[in-house]
């Protein structure tokens, strides 16, 4: 692409890092951001992308995805996950280490990076394990993992139940300046619970998991972050008490960051009840009460929760088309995140600027990743989002291998039309062939139910 010049013209440039919000032209040259300015003469050799009516934002960054490779390639591969990412406007994703085998050694890290490089789509940043084999017993080799390319540590999918090990993880990770990302649930309080403990679970006759199962661990780890000075990142916060604890920890200046998922921002346990035991509403942490959802939205709005992360968790129908008690936890999210969160911004849950911040510069800062802004000479990672494009969510058309989405069949508004990574257009929404033109022109198609 040497010498290539791209003018992205006429769009609303939303770059929360610089405070830019207005109609601008973004100029990409040699794969980098050359200029963001109001009026520019386009040289004849430059390629133009018409962004009128759209938002032009730094490529979205997702700190929490499950790409399933190695070991569960039937659910997702690094390539299909990266394809889903760029289709959703994400130019960088952090790949969680609960693969088979888990990413507790440089061999797995290198494999993930090699696959990502071969795919040539989104940037993939591996996350290494906190403990060897995610068993919660011994520390993994953080120095080796960092040198191989890991950007954070996590035993995601499992909590670190040993307080002693968690203390040592936060302490030891400091020397490599790696954030420790925690999946917070006290397994004793979880028991055999499969959804949020509350009136909806009582009516459905399903075993509940109280919000306190998350909160006691959040509170413990905040205390340990204070003890050790380590960098704590709270994954997928779901309960009001956790948000309160994170807010207080930040006020005291601890090195604590947090994320929330689109589904915890948008859905509650009553949606599980309404769905009639639809296991695409089963995830961990579970969808919580309306009051919790409100608190998570407030946390995102006031910055207590730094960023939005999808916890993209592909599962096939084999794992999902089951009784609620035994179905796998998790939903895919990369291709619906923007539309789902945009709807919340439109309802006033948080501003549009805050929405984009939480998907760009905020996650970049939380993990110390490059990108997330249109800084001059930054790699040209760009998402062009059409905030008015109405489309039907048809999981059969996802780029992800799996369609486990609670929004299956729903009409959504807002979609990524172009994604650039390093100045290269890696995704362009096909408005014709996909049959998913504006206003859901193909709305009569199958509903994506499996």
């Amino acid at each position: 692409m040497s010498g290539e010049i791209i003018f992205i013209e006429g769009g609303r440039v939303l770059d929360p890092a610089s405070g830019t919000d207005g109609i601008r032209t973004v100029v990409v040259r040699d794969g980098r951001i050359a200029e963001v300015a109001e009026r520019l003469e386009r040289p004849r050799e430059a390629r133009a992308i018409d962004a009128r009516g759209k938002w032009v934002v730094p490529g979205l960054i997702d700190l929490h995805v499950h790409l399933r490779e190695p070991g569960q390639e039937y659910k997702e591969t690094v390539e299909t996950g990266a394809r889903a990412a760029v289709a959703g406007g994400f130019t960088a994703v952090c790949a969680m280490p609960n693969t088979v085998p888990p990413n507790d050694n440089t061999g797995v890290t290198e494999l993930v990076l090699a696959r990502a490089s071969a795919a040539g789509l989104a940037r993939v940043y591996p996350v290494g394990c906190i403990s060897k084999g995610q068993k919660g017993e011994e520390l993994a080799e953080y120095g080796e993992l960092k040198n191989a390319g890991c950007v954070a540590l996590s035993d995601d999918g499992k909590p670190v139940m040993s307080s002693a090990l968690m203390r040592r993880a936060l302490e030891y990770a400091r020397v490599f300046d790696l954030p420790v990302t925690v999946h917070e649930e006290d397994l004793g309080l979880v028991g055999k619970g499969v959804m949020h403990e509350g009136p909806a679970a009582t009516r459905l006759g399903l075993k509940g998991v109280p919000g306190a199962a998350e909160e006691v661990m959040v509170l413990r780890d905040i205390a340990l972050a204070e003890l050790t000075g380590g960098r704590l990142h709270l994954a997928h916060l779901s309960s009001a008490g956790s948000v309160r604890a994170a807010r207080e920890a930040k006020r005291r200046g601890l090195r604590v960051t947090a994320e929330a998922t689109p589904h915890h921002l948008a859905l509650s346990d009553e949606d599980v009840a309404r769905s009639g035991y639809d296991t695409d509403f089963k995830m961990n942490p579970p969808l919580r009460s309306a009051a919790d959802v409100h608190a998570v939205r407030e946390g995102l709005a006031d910055g207590t929760i730094d960023c939005i992360a999808t916890d993209h968790a592909p599962h096939t129908v084999v794992e999902k088309d089951l009784e609620f008690d035994v179905a796998a936890n998790g939903v895919v999210g990369l291709e619906t995140a923007f539309a789902v969160c945009l709807a919340l911004a439109r309802k006033g849950a948080f501003s549009e600027r805050r929405l984009i911040e939480a998907l760009t510069i905020a996650p970049a800062r939380a993990f110390g990743l490059p990108g997330g802004s249109f800084a001059k000479n930054a790699a040209a990672d760009v998402a062009i989002l059409d905030p008015g494009l109405e489309w039907r969510c048809e999981p059969g058309r996802f780029n992800s291998k799996c369609g486990n989405s609670p929004w299956k069949g729903a009409m959504l508004v807002g979609r990524c039309t172009h994604t650039l990574v390093g100045g290269r257009v890696v995704h362009e929404l096909d408005m014709g062939a996909s049959g998913q033109g504006p206003m859901g022109a193909s709305g009569s198609g199958p509903k994506g139910e499996r």
Binding site: E323, F324, V326
Partner: protein, 342 residues
């Protein structure tokens, strides 16, 4: 069809009229059940499969008896596993059975929602015979039937007394305005939930009682009042449903042990004499842990309608199978066709 419903998943989705229609039909069924030759050809040629993923001799036998009296062919499919890791999935099992052309699939399953899951995916009618802690609609209906019989029996006469179980035609209107206490592990009880839906739809008041560890959140919004003291719950009640304490809950740990449970939430003759009204009936879905939730004196005493519950269970299940397998008949058909009037 039960009113608008092809399946019987719970009492929560049913209207008051649909519940009353089912109960009225059960009155005719009980009459059939009591004949010397208890066999009518109503469901001849129909097949009922009892698909049980949990041990339950009582409910399964009750459904089987109900099917056979109506001349349906009844088959039992028992499976101890329901997990995807152990053998066949629930859906595969259900589809295998469906391929054998049953008319009604009666399902008992440890997972809440399993009957609805199957109902959404098969062509035949599905009757929920108990799913996790969700619902046990046939138990709820037989409890309503038994309560109406009891209230009819004692209600008509001032000073009406318990203990004389003369036959009555239940007046289901007697349930309105009554107070029923349900005592035990509410959080794990599908019976408590189905009873609550049925009773409140027919105008009764429901008190839930048990230790806080056995009380799930949100039951007030469902229409129950919550009590932790047995005396407070049963005083003034017109009937008390004592739930079975599952022994596995002891280590859970929801309660420290059966001895303490029995002392604070069990019902014995002394408490019954001091706290219950003279006409208060005692129900139990069975099987009873004698000496834990109920003393033998109370279980076998004059207030107990526990064996009536078992008999009425067959009548109610006959009505359920008749409606689910029989199809187009109106709900208030006086008696199954071909039945000679006694």
């Amino acid at each position: 069809m039960i009113g608008r419903h092809k399946h019987l998943i719970g009492l929560e989705p049913l209207s008051r009229e649909e519940i009353l229609g089912l109960l009225q039909l059960a009155v005719s069924m009980k009459e059939v059940l009591r004949r010397p030759i208890k066999k009518v050809p109503t469901l001849r040629g129909k097949a009922v499969v009892n698909l049980f993923f949990e041990a339950s001799t009582r409910t399964r036998t009750s459904f089987e008896t109900a099917a056979k009296i109506l001349s349906a062919d009844a088959f039992n499919w028992t499976s101890s596993t329901s997990s995807v890791t152990k053998g066949e999935t629930l859906l595969d099992t259900a589809r295998n059975i469906e391929a054998m052309h049953p008319d009604v699939l009666v399902i008992r399953h440890p997972a809440g929602g399993a009957p609805q899951y199957v109902a959404n995916r098969v062509g035949c009618a599905v009757a929920n015979a108990g799913d996790g802690a969700h619902e046990h609609p046939s138990q709820g209906l037989l409890d309503l039937f038994t309560l109406a019989e009891h209230f009819t029996r004692v209600g008509g006469k001032p000073g009406g007394e318990v203990g004389k179980k003369e036959d009555v035609v239940p007046d289901f209107g007697t349930i309105a305005g009554k107070t029923v206490a349900i005592v035990g592990d509410i959080s794990h009880s599908r019976v408590a939930r189905s009873d609550l839906y049925g009773l409140t739809k027919l105008g009764a008041k429901v008190r839930f009682c048990g230790p806080p560890t056995m009380m799930p959140p949100g039951v007030e919004a469902m229409g129950a009042t919550v009590h932790h003291q047995l005396r407070e719950a049963v005083e003034g009640a017109d009937a008390v449903v004592m739930l079975r304490i599952q022994h596995e809950r002891i280590g859970d740990p929801l309660i420290p042990g059966t001895r303490e449970y029995s002392k604070f939430w069990g019902l014995n003759a002394k408490k019954a004499a001091e706290w219950l009204t003279p006409t208060c009936a005692i129900l139990h879905p069975g099987p009873i842990n004698r000496g834990v939730e109920l003393s033998s004196e109370v279980a076998d005493g004059p207030r107990s309608v526990i064996l009536e519950q078992v008999e009425n269970g067959v009548a109610v299940r006959m009505a359920i199978l008749y409606l689910l397998a029989g199809g187009a008949h109106e709900i208030d058909t006086p008696a199954p066709e071909g039945a000679a009037r006694a």
